[in-house]
């Protein structure tokens, strides 16, 4: 831990100085530190940090996906609401057969109103 922080301090300090002033040993150390950091970064991306916990390890990742699915579900629900409303508006019972019969029947309209 102490070595790491020293390395970091050293890197910080060295970066502030001119590159030309670095000696070959330091450059080698820097290169080695960089390579080490890169290899760690790749390993971290390759396997989830909580992989050892089994299925539970995916919870963190799944949360992000779940948010996406929430939006998909919300859009689907909105579409369903819209379709339902349109259907309800247009599902007025067709009474045209009765209407035409009343308007052309033998009996006058007022008979059906009494």
């Amino acid at each position: 831990m102490n070595k790491k922080s020293l390395d970091a301090e050293q890197i910080k300090h060295l970066l502030n100085r001119s590159v030309t002033q670095l000696d070959s040993t330091t450059l080698q150390q820097l290169r080695a530190a960089r390579n080490k950091a890169m290899s760690r970064y790749e390993a971290h991306n390759a396997a989830p940090a909580l992989a050892w916990t089994g299925p539970l390890a995916n919870i963190g990742q799944n949360l992000g996906a779940a948010r996406k699915y929430q939006w998909v579900a919300a859009v689907l629900l909105a579409v369903c609401v819209f379709s339902g409303t349109v259907y309800w508006h247009h599902s007025e019972k067709d009474t045209s057969d009765v209407d035409i019969a009343i308007l052309t029947d033998e009996l006058p309209i007022h008979v059906y109103l009494d």
Binding site: T85, T95, S96, D99, D105, L113
Partner: protein
């Protein structure tokens, strides 16, 4: 914030069909529709959208009517459109009841209606005794 946005979208979608309910201007009707609805030409544009839709649905039956029936249709159309939606619903319900009634009962109703028509058309000044139809 997202929930509010979603609710707003839902509310908008719910209102959309109502907002999109476009009336059918008289000028946009087909010649057949105009012929069928001729008695309503003046008031057509002021009729509620639902009523316009219902009347336009009669188009599929109108061409099949005989000339006599067409005349009768035109004669009754205006008074039909003057009724309230509740009255029209009541008339439809009664018509269906009448249609399902036995022939004797239907004949009885017809007789009664004819009698009423005669009484109405007979001017009281002629001094004829008014026949009170038995119920």
């Amino acid at each position: 914030m997202r929930v509010r946005c979603f609710l707003a979208v839902c509310a908008m979608l719910l209102c959309l069909p109502a907002l999109a309910a476009v009336t059918h201007p008289w000028a946009n009707l087909t010649p057949l529709q105009q012929e069928m609805l001729a008695p309503l030409a003046k008031q057509w544009n002021d009729l509620p959208e639902l009523q316009q839709q219902r009347l336009l649905k009669l188009e599929k039956y109108y061409p099949k009517l005989t000339l006599e029936k067409k005349e009768l249709f035109h004669k009754r159309l205006e008074s039909w459109s003057m009724l309230t939606p509740e009255q029209r619903t009541k008339a439809r319900k009664k018509f269906l009841e009448y249609s399902k009634a036995p022939p004797e009962k239907r004949e009885q109703i017809k007789q009664l209606a004819r009698q009423r028509e005669i009484n109405k058309s007979t001017p009281p000044a002629m001094g004829l005794p008014s026949t009170n139809p038995s119920r």
